[in-house]
C-alpha cells in the first residue's frame, strides 16, 4: 500500500549488506582482469557481483539480470570479444548487461591494444562513447586495471557521499518515514509538460485545495500525480504524502490509511481524523490519494479532512470525480497521436513513448521513416493510451512494429464487437491486455494469473512460495519475462508489483480458474508463515529491519486476513492475529487490530477451544489498546483460563502478562506481581526463556514504579544475567536502563551515567530509536541532577522524538520519572528556554542525538559548561508529540 522512501535519515545496515558492484565482461578472455576487479572491490570492503557460467537452476539471462538488479554500481570491462548472443536474442549478454545498467553509476574500462576487436563490440563501444553518463578509461594490464577501479570507486563513493550517500544504497529495508513519501518509478514519462504545469499551478495557489485527476484506467493518472509530487520540492513544510488506495475496498479505512502513512498512529480514544490534524499541526501539506475510484464512498471523509486542515491540499487520482464542494476536476487525456494514417509524426508524444520504451530492447528502432509510420499507426490504434502503448512496445524484443500492428489490429478489431458497454478507450485497453496476455507462453500466463493473488508488492521468495505449484515452473525466469513485457514492474527494495489496471485484469483471469482457491490458500499460508517468523525476529536486535519488512507486507497481510475470515479458515486467522500482536503494538495499529479481532470474535461460538483462546487474547489486547478496558479485561481473563484448559502455557503466560499490563494503574501492587509470577511460571513451562525475561523485567518495572527499589534492582540484575545467557542484546540493554533508573533513584549518579552511556552505544549500533530514547531520558536525569538543565532539556527533546519514532509505548517504569523530570527541568530553565532547548533536541537525528549524548557526557566530566550546539544537526521540525497510551507499570 503506501510506499515510503526516507530521504532524511541514514540507513543502518547489517555488516553483510555491502555496496554491490556488478562486474560485466566476457568470461574467458578477461579472466585475470575479472579477478583483479574483484580484488579491487573487495579491498574497498565492497561486494563484487559476477555472473559465472555453471550449473544453476536458472537461465543465465535471468541470473545476470537478477544479479544486476540487486547491484548499485556497474563496472564494464571490454577487450576484443563481443560475447555470446543467446538464441532469440539480438544482442550479446555483455551488451544486454550494459543496457540494463540503466541509471546506475557506470565505470567502463577498455583494454588496449585490441587488434582483433569484433564488430559487435566496436559498435557497443561507440554507443558507450556517445553516452555522456558513462565514464570510460583504457588500460593494458590486470594490475593497472585493479588500481584504476579502486581509485575510481573511491572517488565515486566520495562524490555520492557528498551528494547524499543514502541514494547509492537503495536496496535494504528502511526505517519508517517522517517526511516526504515517494514510490519508485520505473516507466517512461513523456508528453505531459502542459498537464504538469497546469496541475502545479492549481496546487501552488491557495484557491484550489482539491484537485482530482480523472480518466480511464491506463491513461497515466498515477504516473502524472507522482511526477507532480517529484517536481514539488518546496512549499509543503508538512510534507507530501502519497497514499495508495489500490488495495483498500472499504471506504471507512481510508482515513486510517492516511493516518498510518503520516505516521499518526493510534492513541486512546483519538479519532484518526484528529490524529491527522495533530500530525499536520497547521503546516502546509499535500496528500495524494491514488486510485480513489475503489473507495468513492469516502469522498465526505476527504471533505472533512480538508475542512479540518485549512493548509492541506489533496491531489486525487480516480476514474470518477469525488463530486464534493471545492473539487477541481482535471481530466487526464491520452497522449496526442498522429491524426493521419501513414503519417510518421516522430514528435507526437505517443510515438516518442513507444520508441523510448522499445529502444531499451531494440536500440535502432524508429530510425526509418516507414517504421515510424507503422509505430504512429500502432499508437493511433491504441488511442494514445500510455499503458497500452507500453505493453505493445514491450513486445519489440521479438516482434517488429509491422508484426505488432498486424496482430494488434486483429485483436482490436475483434474486441470492438465485444464488450459494448465499456467506453471506447477502456475497450482499447482491454483488447491490448488480451493481446498482450495471448502472446505469453503457458508458463507466463500461469504465473501472471497467479500473481494476481498478491496485494501491493511481493518478493521473489513470496512468488516462488505461492505460485510454484508445478515443479517445472521457473518462477524467476518467468517473472523476469513478465517484467520485460511490462506486465509486472519492479517495485521498491527488489520487490515486484503490477499496475492497478493490470492487477485487476489478472484478477479477473484468476477468478475464473479452478485453482483460484488453492492459490489464495497458498498466499494465506505464506503470509501466516512469514508473519510468524517475522514476529519472532521482532524480539531480536534486528527489530527495525523486520519491522520494515512487515510494513512492506501489510497489504498482503490484510488480504490474507480477509481471505481467512471470508473463507472460514478461522484457525489461521486467529494464529495470524496472535502473531501480529507485537507488530500492531509497535506500530500503534489499534483500530486495525480491533477491527480484525472483532471480525473473528463474531464467530467465537463456533470456534474450537484453541482458536477461541487466541481470538480472546488478540481481542483483549486490541480492546485494551483502544482504551476499552471494560471489554478487554474480561476477554483476557477468559483467554488465560482457556489457554490453561488446553494446556498451552505460552498462550497463558502471554495473556497473563497482557492482563497485568491492562489492569488500571490503581490496581493493587500485589495483584500485578501475582499475575506476572503466574506468567513467569507458565512461560518457563513453555520453555520460552526470552519471554520469561520479559515477565521478569516487567516485574522489575512494577517494583520500580511502586518504589520497591531493592526488589527492582535484584529483578533487573536477574534479567540482565538471563539476557546475557541468551545473547539477547536488547534484553540486556533494557535491564541496564532499568538499573540506571534504580541508580538514579538511589543517587548513584556516576553508576547511572555508565549504564545509560552503555545503552546509548547499543542503541546506536542497533539503530534502535526506542532503546536510545530511554537511555537519553536517563542521561537527562543525570544532567538534571548535576544542574545541567539546558543539556537535560535537549536530551529530553531528543528522547521524546526517538521514543515517538520507535512507535513503542513509553517505558512504563521510567515514564513517571521523566514526566516529573520534564516539569522539574522546565521549572529551573523557565518555559521559553526549556521549549527552545527541547526543540533543539527534538530535531536531532538518531546518530546526532547519540553523539550529543556521549559527547556531552565526556565534556561534562571535564566540567565544560557550554552546550555543543555545533553537533546539533536538524533532522525535521519539531512535531506535536504523539501522546501514546499511558499505562504505568507493566510492559508487554
Amino acid at each position: 500500500m503506501p510506499s515510503s522512501v526516507d530521504t532524511s535519515t541514514p540507513v543502518i545496515r547489517t555488516p553483510d549488506q555491502r555496496l554491490r558492484v556488478f562486474i560485466s565482461s566476457t568470461l574467458q578472455e578477461l579472466a585475470p582482469e575479472r579477478e583483479a576487479a574483484a580484488r579491487a572491490i573487495r579491498h574497498l570492503r565492497l561486494a563484487p557481483v559476477m555472473f559465472e557460467l555453471g550449473a544453476r537452476p536458472h537461465a543465465p539471462r535471468s541470473l545476470y539480470r537478477a544479479y544486476l538488479d540487486q547491484s548499485q554500481v556497474f563496472v564494464g570491462i571490454y577487450w576484443q570479444r563481443y560475447g555470446w548472443v543467446a538464441p532469440g536474442e539480438q544482442v550479446s549478454g555483455v551488451e544486454d548487461e550494459y543496457r540494463l545498467a540503466g541509471n546506475r553509476p557506470r565505470l567502463i574500462y577498455i583494454k588496449t591494444p585490441a587488434p582483433d576487436r569484433e564488430p559487435g563490440l566496436r559498435e557497443l563501444l561507440d554507443l558507450i562513447r556517445s553516452d555522456d553518463h558513462a565514464s570510460y578509461k583504457s588500460f593494458s594490464s590486470a594490475s593497472e586495471l585493479r588500481a584504476l577501479i579502486e581509485n575510481d570507486l573511491a572517488v565515486l563513493l566520495s562524490e555520492r557521499f557528498l551528494a547524499g550517500g543514502a541514494q547509492l544504497l537503495p536496496a535494504a529495508p528502511r526505517r519508517p518515514v517522517r517526511s516526504t513519501h515517494l514510490p519508485a518509478s520505473t516507466s517512461s514519462f513523456i508528453g505531459r509538460e502542459a498537464e504538469m504545469a497546469a496541475i502545479l499551478e492549481l496546487l501552488g495557489g491557495s484557491q484550489t485545495r482539491l484537485v482530482t485527476l480523472t480518466g480511464p484506467g491506463g491513461v497515466g493518472k498515477t504516473r502524472l500525480s507522482l511526477e507532480v509530487v517529484r517536481t514539488l520540492t518546496r512549499g509543503f513544510s508538512g510534507g507530501v504524502h502519497v497514499v495508495s488506495l489500490a488495495n483498500i475496498s472499504d471506504p471507512a479505512l481510508v482515513i486510517s490509511a492516511i493516518a498510518q502513512q503520516l505516521g499518526a498512529t493510534q492513541q486512546d480514544a483519538v479519532s484518526p481524523l484528529d490524529r491527522v490534524r495533530e500530525r499536520l499541526s497547521g503546516r502546509r501539506a499535500l496528500i495524494v490519494l491514488d486510485n480513489f475510484e475503489q473507495v468513492v464512498g469516502a469522498a465526505p471523509t476527504v471533505a472533512e479532512l480538508l475542512a479540518a486542515n485549512p493548509r492541506l491540499s489533496v491531489l486525487v487520482t480516480s476514474r470518477t470525480p469525488l463530486q464534493i464542494r471545492g473539487e477541481t476536476e482535471f481530466e487526464v487525456r491520452p497522449l496526442p497521436v498522429p491524426q493521419m494514417r501513414g503519417e510518421s509524426s516522430p514528435g507526437a508524444a505517443a510515438v516518442q513513448l513507444f520508441v523510448q520504451r522499445a529502444r531499451a530492447m531494440r536500440p535502432n528502432i524508429g530510425k526509418q521513416e516507414s517504421e515510424l509510420a507503422t509505430i504512429a499507426e500502432i499508437c493511433r490504434r491504441l488511442d494514445g493510451l500510455p499503458l497500452a502503448i507500453e505493453l505493445a512496445a514491450a513486445r519489440t524484443r521479438i516482434l517488429s512494429p509491422e508484426a505488432i500492428l498486424s496482430r494488434l489490429g486483429n485483436a482490436l478489431g475483434l474486441l470492438t464487437h465485444g464488450a459494448l458497454d465499456l467506453p471506447d478507450r477502456q475497450r482499447t485497453l482491454r483488447a491490448t491486455l488480451d493481446w498482450s496476455f495471448d502472446l505469453l507462453d503457458d508458463a507466463e500466463r500461469t504465473l501472471f494469473t497467479r500473481l494476481a493473488v498478491f496485494a501491493g508488492e511481493w518478493t521473489l521468495e513470496a512468488a516462488e512460495a505461492v505460485c510454484q505449484r508445478e515443479t517445472d515452473l521457473d518462477v524467476l525466469d518467468t517473472l523476469m519475462g513478465l517484467v520485460d513485457r511490462s506486465l509486472v514492474q519492479r517495485g521498491t527494495d527488489g520487490r515486484f508489483r503490477m499496475l492497478n489496471v493490470i492487477q485487476e485484469y489478472a484478477h479477473e483471469r484468476l477468478a475464473v480458474r479452478p485453482e483460484r482457491e488453492a492459490v489464495e490458500a497458498a498466499h494465506a499460508k505464506y503470509v501466516l508463515e512469514f508473519v510468524q517468523s517475522a514476529a519472532a525476529q521482532l524480539r531480536g536486535s534486528d527489530q527495525q529491519t523486520w519491522r520494515a519488512l512487515l510494513a512492506a507486507e501489510q497489504d498482503n497481510v490484510r488480504a490474507a486476513m480477509r481471505w481467512m475470515l471470508d473463507s472460514g479458515d478461522l484457525v489461521s486467522a486467529s494464529k495470524l492475529q496472535v502473531a501480529l500482536i507485537a507488530y500492531w503494538w509497535i506500530q500503534g495499529y489499534a483500530t486495525e487490530a480491533r477491527r480484525w479481532s472483532d471480525a473473528l470474535l463474531a464467530h467465537v461460538d463456533s470456534l474450537d477451544p484453541a482458536t477461541t483462546a487466541r481470538a480472546n487474547l488478540a481481542g483483549g489486547v486490541a480492546c485494551a489498546w483502544e482504551g476499552d478496558d471494560a471489554s478487554g479485561i474480561p476477554l483476557l481473563e477468559r483467554a488465560v483460563a482457556q489457554f490453561h484448559e488446553i494446556s498451552d502455557p505460552l498462550g497463558a503466560g502471554v495473556a497473563e502478562m497482557a492482563l497485568a499490563y491492562v489492569l488500571p494503574p490503581a490496581t493493587e501492587y500485589a495483584r500485578k506481581q501475582t499475575l506476572l509470577l503466574e506468567s513467569a511460571a507458565d512461560l518457563y513451562q513453555s520453555g520460552d526463556l526470552w519471554t520469561v525475561n520479559v515477565a521478569l523485567q516487567s516485574r522489575a518495572d512494577v517494583a520500580l514504579a511502586s518504589g520497591h527499589i531493592v526488589d527492582a534492582r535484584e529483578l533487573y540484575e536477574d534479567g540482565l544475567e538471563l539476557a546475557r545467557q541468551q545473547a539477547d542484546i536488547r534484553g540486556r540493554a533494557q535491564a541496564e536502563v532499568g538499573l540506571g533508573f534504580v541508580a538514579l533513584q538511589t543517587n548513584d549518579v556516576t553508576r547511572a551515567q555508565q549504564l545509560f552511556d552503555a545503552t546509548v552505544q547499543v542503541g546506536l549500533e542497533l539503530g534502535n530509536p526506542e532503546l536510545l530514547g530511554h537511555a537519553l531520558r536517563g542521561l537527562a536525569g543525570v544532567a538534571h541532577t548535576r544542574a545541567q538543565q539546558h543539556r537535560a532539556a535537549v536530551l529530553l527533546g531528543a528522547a521524546r522524538s526517538l521514543v515517538d519514532e520507535s512507535g513503542v509505548v513509553d517505558w512504563p517504569a521510567a515514564r513517571q520519572l521523566w514526566t516529573q523530570l520534564e516539569h522539574a527541568v522546565q521549572r529551573r530553565l523557565g518555559t521559553a528556554r526549556f521549549a527552545a532547548a527541547f526543540g533543539q533536541g527534538h530535531a536531532l537525528s538518531l546518530s546526532a542525538a547519540a553523539q550529543f549524548a556521549l559527547g556531552r557526557t565526556l565534556s561534562s566530566s571535564k566540567g565544560t559548561r557550554s552546550c555543543a550546539d555545533a553537533e546539533l544537526r536538524p533532522r525535521h521540525p519539531p512535531t506535536v508529540s504523539r501522546q501514546r497510551r499511558r499505562r504505568d507499570e507493566v510492559r508487554v
Partner: protein, 115 residues
C-alpha cells in the same frame, strides 16, 4: 514483596550447602520470606541451597513463578538449587512445570546432603 511477613528457617548442611525449611504456603505472598531466607542461606558462600518442602501445605502457580525467579537468581550467583520432601502431588507439578529439569529433586534430606 519487600516486607517480610513470615520467616523461613535456614540451617547449615555441611560446609557447602544450606537448607531452607519451606513451610506453610508458597504463593506470591511468600516472595519476601523466601528471598530473605535465600539471602541468609547463601551469606556464607555455599554452592548449593536445598529447599526442604516437608512442611509445605500449599503451592500455587504464582509460587511456581517464585521458584522460577529463585532459580534465575541462583543461576546468576553461580549457585545450585536442590529440593527434597516433596509429596507425590508436588513432584508431579515440578515435572509438569519443568522445574525438575533445573532443580534436582532428592528422595530425602540425607540423599540431598550426600549429593
Amino acid at each position: 514483596m519487600s516486607e517480610v511477613q513470615q520467616q523461613l528457617a535456614v540451617r547449615s548442611a555441611g560446609s557447602n550447602s544450606s537448607i531452607i525449611d519451606v513451610s506453610g504456603d508458597v504463593t506470591a505472598a511468600t516472595e519476601a520470606a523466601l528471598m530473605d531466607a535465600y539471602a541468609r542461606a547463601t551469606a556464607s558462600g555455599v554452592c548449593t541451597v536445598l529447599l526442604d518442602f516437608s512442611a509445605l501445605e500449599y503451592m500455587n502457580s504464582s509460587g511456581i513463578g517464585l521458584l522460577v525467579t529463585l532459580l534465575i537468581r541462583a543461576n546468576r550467583q553461580g549457585q545450585r538449587i536442590g529440593a527434597f520432601g516433596l509429596t507425590a502431588h508436588y513432584r508431579d507439578i515440578f515435572e509438569l512445570t519443568r522445574l525438575d529439569e533445573a532443580i534436582h529433586i532428592y528422595d530425602g534430606e540425607p540423599a540431598a546432603i550426600a549429593a
